[in-house]
Symmetry: C2
Subunit: 335 residues, 2 copies
Amino acid sequence: MQLLITGGAGFVGARLARTLLQRGQLDGQAITRIVLADMAPPPADLLADARVEARVGPLLQHCEGLQHEAMDGVFHLASAVSGECEADFDLGLRSNLDSTRALLEGLRHAGNVPRFVFASSVAVFGPDAGNPLPDLVTDSTLPSPQTSYGTHKLMCEYLVADYTRKGYIDGRSARLMTVTVRPGKPNGAASSFFSGIIREPLAGVETTCPVDPGVTHPVSSPAHTVKGLITVYQATREAMGGRLALNLPGLNVRVGDMLDALEAVAGKKVRARVRFERDERIAGIVANWSRGSTADRAKALGLLPETSFRSIIEQYIADCRERPGYPADALRGLD
Amino acid sequence: MQLLITGGAGFVGARLARTLLQRGQLDGQAITRIVLADMAPPPADLLADARVEARVGPLLQHCEGLQHEAMDGVFHLASAVSGECEADFDLGLRSNLDSTRALLEGLRHAGNVPRFVFASSVAVFGPDAGNPLPDLVTDSTLPSPQTSYGTHKLMCEYLVADYTRKGYIDGRSARLMTVTVRPGKPNGAASSFFSGIIREPLAGVETTCPVDPGVTHPVSSPAHTVKGLITVYQATREAMGGRLALNLPGLNVRVGDMLDALEAVAGKKVRARVRFERDERIAGIVANWSRGSTADRAKALGLLPETSFRSIIEQYIADCRERPGYPADALRGLD
């Protein structure tokens, strides 16, 4: 089978590709080819695999040609992130809405009804006066996005559902919780600090936390997130139930408790590298985000949230020691 | 003030234009100009008013120029209907999603933050396995459209909300219930029969009802629908609450009771012109529709549903006798 991963050079996309290549099969079929489409080329270890083909450039350029390829399955992860979309409204619409639509059109005209997993986001949820955001957002919470990013994700969920209803694709949407700990540099996402406050002190770098320690949020490790995407891909339509969008599981954690876990794993000196310095722009965005989530439909597929943030940090440290994609000096701050 | 009504030559759009011209003002401002944009020219009585300007052709063509006009307010009613969208997927996306987006872009670049009322639809609601459609859909029911038409309406609601959040327009979305009794010919909407089973027998024409008499549905008269659109236009942002989409009020009525009301108003002979002949395509679409609705947020704006279907039929008969847009032979079937 041949697969397409959009955003395939990104952190989650590359990890998904590595996991799939290692498994060698998906949904019982041998993986013969994985196309990684992204603005940047994929990491060297992926390029070295004979099954991998890279397509570099804006996704919009690659979509029309897809009608001649008959991809068996697609993971659509490519997206402009929340901070970018707030800063550049047109870029957000183009990257998130136009690209998804062009992708769906390319797949529709291939005519082979590919399996399609859309990476949506917990950012579809937000407060509104009529319906304040509950303490926990569920699969049945009425979405009310408060960012352009969340708006586009939600619109695309409904587009994916309609293409599926029409029989053009076999689609489903998995709402990712905030993925942490991400390696590398901060990105334009307003959620970037959820990784930064762990990653930077472990690398020996001083950093700031832009929100109060009492802020809570649903998070998921990279490994758990990738497992969620694969499980949703392999789920039967019956197991998905009638609706096609579901929450992936998240660990609902307090920022202060994240730092306590960091101290428990890495010591007081490491934790002391995080200073609270409120950033009104970030704090304002995060104030409209979910404080926690449940994921009953994912649970029915066998997906459970992680049980402690400590285990997420330990996974990050283990990844830094053994995985490609983690910089050599990522743990320089550990004694 | 100058207003734009898209779909302004259609039945609801033309009635809205007539009502506004007669009032002479909207939200306390004198109406100096109403632009009616539609595929067809508006009715002669509207063209005869010096304040009216017609723009004929696809809406997409007119949108870019709007940035140079600074419209004070817009009612966006233009839409491909449900049956058309199911028959031609591309037409639906172009007419409903692309046109709405182009319209919003034109208004955004005008820079004067116009008031904007989007005519959404009760078709945003549908059943899904995780959340079967409740007996009554409310402002807080999770939308799950089962038609492309409903999908586009819902996507546009969220687009309108995001353009509003960004300060590009002052938008709100009013979900119309099924408007009945419409004059003239059946149209491509799957809901067309909700008018046909009253209109045709009153005109002396035999007709069929494609669904069972036990089917229930929320409906609204043309006058009530126009009143709803104007009320939502004039509502302050505070009165709208944090969310921008609301249900307009509907009378929840059984098809059998609609025919009983017809008999009560017009007699047995008229009712006998309706024969039940199930149409699987129509019945299949309608089976996924709301069986009834509530409209609490509209109620807070002073909007209530009609109290009987009999009064809706009586309104239609009165309209046929005195209003432009109703054919001369509309009541030929009345004794």
